[in-house]
Amino acid sequence: MTTVALLGNPNTGKTSVWNRLTGGSAKVGNYPGVTVERRVGPLRKRPTIEVVDVPGAYSLVARSADEQIALDVALGLDGEPRPAVVVVCVDATQLVRSLYLLLQVQELGARCVVALTMADEAGAAAPNPTDLAHVLGCAVVPVVGRTGAGIDALATAIVTAVDAQAPVAPVVRWQPSPALAAQIATVRAALPAAWPQSDALALWALQCVGDDELARVPAAVRAAVAAAAPTAALDDEVIAARYAWLDAQVAGLAKAKVDRRRTERVDRVLLHRGLGLVIFGAVMFVLFMSLFAWSEPAIAAVESAFAWVGERARTILPDGVVEDFVVDGVIGGVGSVVVFLPQILLLFFFLGLLEDFGYLARVAYLMDRIMRTMKLSGRAFVPMLSGFACAVPAVMATRTMERQRDRILTMLVIPLMTCSARLPVYTLVIAALFPSHTVGGLSTKSLLMVGMYGFSLVTSLAAAWVLARVVKPLRAKRLPFVIELPPYRAPRMRDVVRMMGTKTWAFLREAGTVILACTIALWALLYFPRELPAGAPDYDAQVAAAPSAEAKAELEHARDGALLENSYGARLGHTIEPAIEPLGFDWKIGVGIIGAFAAREVFVSTLGVIHGVGDDEGSLRKHLANERKADGTPRYTPLVGLSLMVFFALACQCMSTLAVIKRETGGFRWPLFVFSYMTVLAWVSSFLVFQLGSLLGY
C-alpha cells in the first residue's frame, strides 16, 4: 500500500480536496494518545494509494504531542507509513503564509505536489500555476474544491509523483549562519537511526525540544539539543530567512491584492457592537433550541419506534428471561444509543454550516473575552452551550477546538451543564417534595428550576477555573491565542453532509458499542436473580384472581417492585446506603441512582418501580410525598429533595457521557477522572447541603 499525506493550513479547503480525491470513503480513527482524528481513504484514481488527511497546521514545529502528528505523518515516523508524496494545500488568497509550510516539507526532503486552492476566489491575486511551479520546483495544480474542477489533474499529478523513482533531495532556500550550522551538526549526530538523517530534522528538534510536551523524543536528541543550547535568536534567523525567500520569490507572483470587500461588508454587520451581538444571540438561540426542543419530535419518534419493535418482539417471543433480555436489554439498549442521533446530526449540521461559512471563527472572536476568564478560549462557547441540551454531542463538538488542552478542559466541565435528561428528575423532585408558594408573583417551584440552571452554570465555570490551575496537563501555557478570520464562503453541503455521516458512524461504532454493553449490564443488574424474596405473597395467583383491571395493575406493580427490591442492583443499593445516608438518601434512592447510569431520566422510572407504582409519575409524586419514616415524619423532606437535586447536578450519572469522552480522548484516563472528580464533588456538596440544612432545622 502506498501512502500520500495531505497537509495544509486550516481554512484552505483541504477537507474538500480530500473528499473529492477519495470520494469520501474514509476510515476514521484516533492517533494514539491524542484527541486528533486520523482519516484515511483510497485515492479514487488509483485505489491502491491511501490518502491521509492531516489536521490543518501552520507549521511542522510542535510543542505538544497533538501538534507532533503533522511531522510524524509527513515523515512516516512512529508507526505512520512513510508517504511517497506529500500534497500541500496552498491557499491562493494566503500564498506566502501557506507556502511557509511547503518550505518546511521541502527542507525535509519529501516529494511534494502543490494543490493550489481558492484560486477562483483570489481572482487576479492568484499566481500563474506554471510560474509558481517553476519557482517551487514541484508540480502545482489549481483546484476548486467546491466544483471539483482540477481534482482529476491533481490526482494525475499525485500518481505521476508516486511513480517517479528518482530520489528527492532536501531543498533548503536559505543559508544558516556558522553558529546555527554548528548547532545543527551537533543535533544531527544524535538523531536515532530510525529517523531520516537530515539537517532539517535536526533543526526541527532545535526549535521544538526544550520547554515542550512532545512524546517520543529520544533522550539522546534531548541531550544534544540541551548541549547546543538554542535561543530565541535561532527562531528569528530561521523563520525570517524563510519569509525573506518567500517575499522575494513568491510575493511578486500575486499581481493584485486579494479583494476582501465582500467579507468586510458582512463583518461590519456580524461583528457590530450592537447588531452583531444581537445576531450572535439569535444564531446561538436557534442552535440551542434545535438541540433542546426541536429535536424532540425526532427523539420521540426514535423512542416510539424502538418501543414498537419491543412490543412486536414480545408478541413473538415466549415469556421469560430471553424475552425480557431481547426487549429490555438489547432492543432497549440499541434504542438508548440511536436516541442520541437526532441531536448529533443537528449539531454537526450547524457546526459544519457555521464553520464553512466562516462564522465559527467569529463566534470564538466575539466570545473570547468571556471564555478566557475561566482559562478557556472563545472556541469553547458552542460546545459548552450545547452541553445544556446534551453532553454527548457537546463533547463531540470539542473537535472544533485546535488545542488538545482546551479540548480536554472543555470536556471535563461539559457534564456539569444542566442537560435535558436532568429535567425529568428535577421536575419530579420539585413537584413531589416542595410546597407551592409565590414570591413576587413567581412560583417558588419555577424559581427552583431556574436556580438549578444558575447553579450548574456557576459550578461549571468555577470547575473550569479550578481545573485549569490544579490539573497539571491542563495548566495554561503562554501560547498566543491567534485565530484566523477567514473570508466568508458559501457552505458546501456535500462536505457538511459527509461530515455528519462520518461523525455519526464514528459515534455508533466507538461510543455506541460501549453504551449498548453498559445498558445490557445495568439491565442484568436490576433484573437478576428475578426471584421474589422468601415470604412474599404469591402475586401471580393474586393477579390471576384480581377482581378488576385496576386491582390487577396494582398487584403487578407490587410484584415488579418486589422483584426489583430483590435484584442484585437493589442489594447494591442497600450496600451503599451507609455511604448515601449522610446525604439524606435511603436505599431506594440508591437504586434509582444506580439505574440512572443508563440515562439520568431513568431515575424516575426506576424509582416508580421500586416504590411499586409502575410508570405513573402522578402516583409516584404522591407516594414520595406521603412516605413516612418509622417515627411518622415524612421520609422525603424538601431538604432531601434539594440534596438530591444538587447530587444530580454535580454527579456524572451518565455512562454515555463517559463513553463518548473515552472515544474522544482515546483512553480511560480522562473518563475516569471526570467520573471521580464529579462524584466526589457531588457527594461533598450534597453532604454539606443536607447536614447544614438539618442543623438549621429544615
Binding site: 501552520y58 507549521s59 514545529v61 510543542r63 488568497t93 494566503q94 506566502v96 503564509r97 511557509y100 491575486a125 526549535q207 526544550g210 520547554d211 515542550d212 535561543t231 530565541a232 527562531d235 528569528d236 523563520i239 525570517a240 519569509y243 491584492k257 486579494v258 476582501r260 463583518d267 461583528l271 457590530h272 457592537r273 450592537g274 452583531g276 451581538l277 471563527a361 470564538a364 472572536y365 466575539l366 473570547d368 473575552r369 468571556i370 478566557r372 501555557k477 503562554r478 501560547l479 498566543p480 491565542f481 491567534v482 485565530i483 484566523e484 478570520l485 477567514p486
Partner: protein, 74 residues
C-alpha cells in the same frame, strides 16, 4: 517604545520585534509576523478584546495582551 496594542485602528505600522517567551513568539513569527512586516488593527471585538489585525492580506484575531508583545514602528 510602541507596541501593537497601543496603535489606533487602521494605522499602518511595521513590526520591529516580537517579545515574550520562546514558544509564544515562535508561533507569531511563523504566522508571518516577522520584523519588517506591515500590520494594522482593523477591528476591535464588541467586548473590547481581542483585536482583529490585518497582516499579509489575511485577518487574524489576537488578544490585547498578546499584541502588547509585538513591538512596532510607524
Amino acid at each position: 517604545m510602541l507596541t501593537l496594542a497601543e496603535v489606533e485602528r487602521h494605522a499602518q505600522v511595521a513590526i520591529t520585534a516580537v517579545d515574550g517567551e520562546r514558544g509564544f513568539r515562535r508561533r507569531l513569527l511563523e504566522l508571518g509576523l516577522v520584523p519588517g512586516t506591515a500590520v494594522a488593527i482593523t477591528n476591535i471585538a464588541p467586548l473590547g478584546d481581542p483585536l482583529e489585525i490585518e497582516v499579509r492580506g489575511g485577518r487574524l484575531s489576537i488578544r490585547k495582551d498578546e499584541a502588547a508583545q509585538i513591538r512596532v514602528r510607524r
